[in-house]
């Protein structure tokens, strides 16, 4: 006995239109544009004008903040795009610093050649570590980078012919950029260059493939991505950024000494990048600059220093330690409350500046955890 069931023949449903509320896109009013312009100008003033109103010594701190932005972007390539943690990034940066100082002071090369050499050497050493990362990942790779950093600090940076040993190496500011404020602008230009490269990386096939690779290596491979080559390429990009940052740091202080490249620094680098917000250029730069400026900010807020001075025992507790105390706290806050870091927090403001409606809850595309495909 056959029974027939009447089934309504359904047309394929049109896909629901996503995220479109009205027909008319939102346009800010003239007053809205004015408010946006005011904020943009204020930000520009903060970056381009305000640091110059400081004493010479303070300008150097702002320059450091800009260079930290470059270093943060370097680490962001590894942490954010490749998904590997580097606990030896102070060595990546330090090698750039010593290379540049060596080229200028010992080889008498001009600044530009020295910076190019530092970037190249930075890329080369990253290539070697990248090779290791093809074999080991996660915690074990972190250990490799950690020991690499320690070896660099204890051994490589002590080689007298290259680094001047304990005395360090002089690294004068380049001709034409001798004053602190000129050098500040030079570093800003380099940061702009790094931002451009990072932007193009993520808007071209390499960056897209990196994100695919990090989420799902098998899928990336079926898209025709050569997994090994792309990983090495990303390491080189990160190393070039780090080497460049190191060179700029050396000439900012006009001197490099081996002991500043300690593990503490590597920790600060990792924390500032994560707190800034992985895969978010603006967030990383702001986070990095914030950590670089922490000692300055604490100096500005006098009562903190008074409060620290009132604690009897730790005399040696200085403002330099602040990033290492505040850092982990911010790191925990970031991981628990806002995985997208500062970048996630400032997104409503960014969108608003770009002529969109202000939406406090706009945190951008959500992060998804996925398991690898079965294959």
């Amino acid at each position: 006995m056959a029974t027939t069931i009447d089934r309504p023949v359904t047309e394929p449903e049109p896909e629901p239109e996503q995220g479109r509320q009205g027909d008319r896109p939102f346009r800010p009013s003239p007053l809205g544009w004015l408010a946006r312009a005011v904020l943009a100008l204020a930000l520009a003033w903060l970056v381009f004008v305000f640091p110059l109103s400081q004493e010479g010594f303070e300008v150097q701190r702002f320059t450091t903040a800009v260079i930290y932005g470059i270093i943060g972007l370097s680490l962001n390539v590894l942490l954010g795009y490749v998904g590997q943690i580097s606990l030896g990034h102070q060595a990546f940066v330090g090698i750039g610093a010593f290379t540049s100082a060596y080229m200028v002071s010992v080889q008498n090369q001009p600044f530009w050649v020295a910076v190019a050499a530092a970037a190249a050497v930075g890329g080369l050493q990253a290539l070697v570590l990248g090779g290791a990362s093809l074999r080991i990942t996660g915690l074990y790779f972190a250990l490799v980078t950690l020991s690499y950093g320690l070896v660099a600090e204890q051994n490589i940076f002590q080689v007298e012919e290259l680094t001047g040993g304990g005395q360090g190496q002089a690294a004068p500011k380049p001709a034409g950029f001798e004053t602190d404020w000129r050098y500040y602008y030079l570093c800003l230009a380099f940061l702009a260059l790094v931002l451009w490269v990072d932007w193009r990386l993520m808007r071209s096939k390499g960056g897209r493939a990196l994100l695919a690779l990090q989420e799902n290596p098998r899928v990336a491979a079926t898209f025709g991505v050569n997994v090994r080559m792309l990983t090495l390429f990303a390491f080189v990009v990160s190393g070039v950024f780090a080497g460049l940052g190191g060179a700029l740091l050396a000439h900012n202080d006009t001197f490099v000494s081996p002991e500043v490249w300690s593990f503490n620094l590597a920790l600060v680098f990792v924390i500032m990048t994560v707190v800034g917000g992985l895969r978010n250029r603006a967030g990383v730069v702001i986070g990095s600059a914030f950590f670089a400026l922490l000692p300055y900010l604490i100096d500005q807020i006098g009562f903190i220093e008074d409060a620290v001075a009132a604690i009897p025992a730790p005399r040696e507790l200085t403002a330099e330690l602040a990033p290492l105390v505040l850092g982990p706290l911010l790191l925990i806050l970031t991981l628990v409350r806002a995985p997208g870091g500062i970048g996630q927090q400032i997104r409503p403001i960014q969108r608003w500046l770009g002529g969109h409606r202000f939406d406090l809850h706009d945190h951008g595309p959500k992060e998804v955890k996925v398991a690898d495909v079965r294959a």
Partner: protein, 272 residues
């Protein structure tokens, strides 16, 4: 000459013989179905064809060339496109980004020129974006271009995946259960889509599929695997009615009443 051929491939994982002397051929413009119960070694065979596994013995041939030693990405460059059982997409990215990522090999510029932003890379990017939009349009995904993949319904994901694999500009499509998660009607539509795509893009297709009506309707030739071995091959109707295939699906001493019920259900599904 076959476009794609697996010749007597075998692979063993520890004590499990996952595939034994399996031979599969996909001819030009053919749609070949691979059926079999769970654990029959269908996906394993796909993995050997696409290069995720290297067979212990046997070889893989692509247009008269032995590709057994090539890596997954090298085979993709030759024109093998593949989808996955649980959807091979970058879930954190949008549909558009997936379609762009999949055109990795078609982006003519190198990694370095792309990264420093060479003028050529900009114009290529515009071209890739245009093609992404065309493909989305073709598979009815135009409205979803800027939607994040995670969160889309499963049936839609399968369509996005097909659009994505088309974006890799393949010659041969290897589809792993394209109709899973789809209702009978969606599956029927998928059959139409596959037949159309074959004509439009000049494709040869091999697909692992459990939905028997779909297999019978679109496939030119069918292989049935069981416990890693080839059980039967032939025209779809032949394989479906092959006594051993029926036994493999329903068990040795299948209750005749259950078998009858199964047949009825199948005809019901087919009739829809």
């Amino acid at each position: 000459m076959s476009v794609l051929e697996a010749r007597n491939v075998s692979i063993r994982f520890g004590g499990v013989q996952a595939a034994r002397e399996v031979s599969i051929a996909v001819g030009e413009w053919e749609i070949v179905g691979i059926i079999g119960p769970n654990g029959a070694g269908k996906t394993t065979t796909f993995n050997m064809i696409t290069g995720f596994y290297t067979p212990n013995t046997g070889s893989i041939w692509y247009r008269g060339k032995d590709v057994t030693g090539l890596s997954v990405d090298e085979r993709a460059a030759l024109g093998m496109g593949r989808t996955f059982q649980n959807v091979g997409l970058v879930k954190g990215a949008t549909v558009r980004q997936n379609l762009l990522t999949a055109q990795y090999l078609d982006a003519g510029y190198g990694l370095v020129p792309g990264t420093i932003g060479s003028p050529a890379s900009f114009s290529v990017e515009r071209r890739l974006n245009q093609r992404a939009e065309e493909l989305a349009e073709r598979l009815g995904l135009a409205d979803l271009l800027d939607t994040q993949v995670a969160g889309l319904p499963y049936g839609t994901l399968k369509r996005v995946e097909i659009a994505t694999v088309l974006a890799t500009d393949p010659d041969v499509l290897l589809l792993d259960e394209p109709s899973s998660g789809m209702g009978p009607e969606e599956a029927h539509q998928l059959g139409d889509t596959l037949l159309d795509l074959r004509r439009e893009f000049g494709l040869s297709i091999a697909m692992i599929e459990h939905h028997v009506p779909l297999v019978v309707r679109v496939c030119d030739y069918v292989y049935c695997l069981n416990f890693g071995e080839m059980l039967a091959e032939g025209l779809p109707e032949e394989v479906r009615n092959h006594p051993e295939v029926v036994t493999a699906y329903l068990g040795e001493d299948a209750d005749p009443a259950a078998a009858a019920l199964e047949g009825q259900l199948e005809s019901l599904v087919e009739g829809s």
